[in-house]
């Protein structure tokens, strides 16, 4: 009786172990092909960009072909939508970046107060904040970026907003004597990004002092 129980238990353990092992191996094998292909492309593209920007000297321009991630679900039903709407990629990936001059409220939290260059599935700071949807690398602390992320006009608008908040705070404190914070709507962030098509783009990076200027096309 006891021997039979041990026998059956061992059988079950070995069978379950075997099945688990097979599943683990199958998963590993499949993962080799499928694991984060787009994120991997994004990461490699970003590292190459970082390397090129780091080697630029003042007043130098680098111009080179670049391919980024492009989510294609060819073969699936979404492909028909892509073809009908003329969309080139199902998942729109963008090259984004925020310099050290951009306030924290206007860039992904993961960039902190530093400068960062990102490739994200979406053209908003929120998209880049999501670790599953964006890859970011840090640039030298004082770097400012042009042509990506937050434009100078947007920075000016944000500055105006902040001044409005401060002046309302001051007037509220003067009239009510309390430090109540007035409600002022934060204008939605308008960001600039370079969208990756399924083929190559020509990317141009120019260094001027601490500024890096990004532009697409020759």
């Amino acid at each position: 009786m006891a021997r039979g129980l041990i026998h059956d238990t061992l059988r079950v353990i070995l069978s379950v172990g075997g099945v688990l092992l097979v599943l683990l191996l199958a998963g590993k094998l499949f993962g080799v092909f499928l694991h984060n292909q787009q994120t991997e492309t994004a990461h490699k593209t970003l590292m190459s960009l970082l390397g090129k920007s780091e080697r630029l000297e003042d007043e130098q321009t680098a111009s080179f072909p670049l391919v980024g991630p492009c989510g294609k679900i060819a073969g699936g039903p979404l492909e028909s939508i892509r073809k009908i709407t003329g969309e080139t990629c199902i998942d729109a990936w963008y090259l984004m970046g925020w310099g050290s001059d951009v306030p924290l409220a206007r860039k992904p939290e993961r960039c902190l107060s530093a400068s960062c260059l990102c490739i994200c599935k979406g053209d908003t700071p929120e998209a880049c904040q999501d670790l599953q949807r964006g890859v970011c690398v840090f640039l030298p602390q004082s770097t400012t970026l042009r042509g990506l992320g937050t434009s100078p006009e947007e920075l000016e608008r944000f500055d105006t907003y902040q001044r409005a908040v401060h002046s309302q705070q001051a007037s509220a404190a003067a009239t009510t004597g309390s430090g109540a914070i007035p409600r002022v709507a934060l204008p939605p962030a308008v960001t600039q990004g370079i969208r990756f098509p399924p083929a190559f783009i020509e990317l141009r990076i120019t260094k001027q002092g601490t500024a890096l200027m990004f532009a697409q096309g020759a």
Binding site: R3, H7, L10, R11, L14, G17, G18, L21, V22, L24, L25, K28, L29, V32, F33, L34, Q37, E40, T41, K44, M47, S48, L49, L50, G51, K52, S53, E54, R55, L56, E59, Q60, T61, A62, S63, F64, P65, V67, C70, K72, I73, A74, G75, G76, E79, S80, K83, P198, A199, F200, I201, E202, R204, A218
Partner: protein, 356 residues
């Protein structure tokens, strides 16, 4: 006593079988894991090509091609050895550097040899151009128009300080035509074309012969010269494939899909329940439904025919230069040495796969 003695060996034998099986499975698993972990980029690429090649056309696009572009830099002993091919590969990882000898003739031979070997590697990794790699469900059913898809196998660059004499008389076509592939009886050209082509029509000798970046000149508003990097002497070996299924194939596939749906409706419990429900509909509604289905079927078949025709035109546009007669309209696989420039690359490729 006998029964007890008999039960123990039975159990032991079963247990030993199970244990041996488990250990074997564990060993195989371990070997596969170690192999995959230590596989080179080239092996992983070849494996992903095989996986795609053996998958049904409609599922191919779901399997990513894990092909990383190989980078080779030709530099010279007198060039900047700390930053070779800075104009092409600045900041990039995994660049193989080949220092050319001072003898420019020997240098040319090495450039031609490395280029030919890169061609061969690409040809081999991509299934010798015989494997269909970029199929899609909709395309196989004629519901989408096919496009040219490329993999950039190799990037080969010459250092900006390399003396122009290394390029004078560099003849890659002749090398491909006249040189035998190591461990093969055929020349590179004969091997790539199954011996059908005697001269290579598309390898441009000027691929590497772009003015070096230190020559100062203005082109398209961009400054060449010491203040610009990127306009370099760099070539790329590109594999391009475009396919256009025949109208018979697309209609057969659509018909098969229709039969599967019909089979599902008749032979599965939810399908049968649905069929019963349809049977309960008023005759007029059922007739209208039947007409709508017939019109839809004809519409889909018409769309498939139209898209297949469009795919043939696209394929002929890309392949007509490489194939004679109407063969080009069925699609082709092409290995090309192109300057690594957006205009050239996008001229051949609508989509890029792999990681350049």
């Amino acid at each position: 006593m006998k029964r007890g003695a008999g039960a123990l060996p039975d159990f032991s034998v079963e247990l030993v079988y199970a244990l041996v099986g488990f250990v074997l499975l564990l060993s195989v698993g371990g070997i596969v894991y170690v192999q995959l972990s230590s596989s080179s980029d080239s092996d992983i690429c070849a494996l992903s090509v095989l996986a795609r090649g053996t998958a049904p056309a409609s599922a191919q696009a779901l399997l990513p091609l894990k092909c990383q572009t190989q980078k080779t830099c030709f530099t010279c002993a007198t060039c900047d050895t700390k930053r070779p091919c800075q104009e092409s590969f600045a900041g990039e990882q995994g660049v193989r550097v080949i220092t050319l000898p001072l003898d420019s003739v020997e240098g040319q031979r090495i450039i031609a040899q490395e280029t030919a070997e890169a061609y061969y590697r690409c040809w081999k990794r991509m299934g010798q151009g015989k494997i269909s790699l970029f199929g899609g469900y909709l395309q196989s059913r004629g519901l989408a128009v096919g496009d040219s898809v490329c993999v950039v196998c190799d990037r080969l660059a010459l250092d900006g300080n390399l003396d122009p004499s290394y390029l004078e008389g560099l003849d890659i076509q002749s090398y491909l035509r006249d040189t035998r592939v190591p461990e093969h009886k055929e020349t590179y050209l004969a091997l790539f074309t199954n011996g059908q082509v005697q001269s290579y029509p598309s390898v441009s000798a000027s691929t590497y012969s772009v003015a070096p970046p230190r020559v100062s000149q203005e082109t398209s508003g961009l400054t060449y010269g010491s203040s610009t990097i990127g306009r370099d002497r760099q070539g790329s070996i590109v594999f391009m494939q475009v396919e256009a299924p025949s109208i018979t194939d697309t209609l057969t596939q659509l018909g098969t899909d229709g039969l599967i749906v019909a089979g599902g409706a008749f032979f599965t419990p939810p399908g049968r329940a649905g069929t019963k429900l349809i049977g309960m509909l008023p005759a007029k509604v059922a007739r209208a439904g039947g007409i709508a289905t017939a019109v839809g079927t004809i519409g889909i078949a018409g769309l498939a025919a139209s898209n297949t025709y469009a795919s043939h035109i696209v394929a002929n546009g890309y392949c007509g230069n490489f194939q004679s007669g109407t063969a080009g309209s069925k699609g082709c696989s092409v290995f090309e040495l192109l300057p690594y420039r957006v205009s050239w690359l996008n001229g051949l490729c609508s989509e890029i796969e792999g990681v350049p």
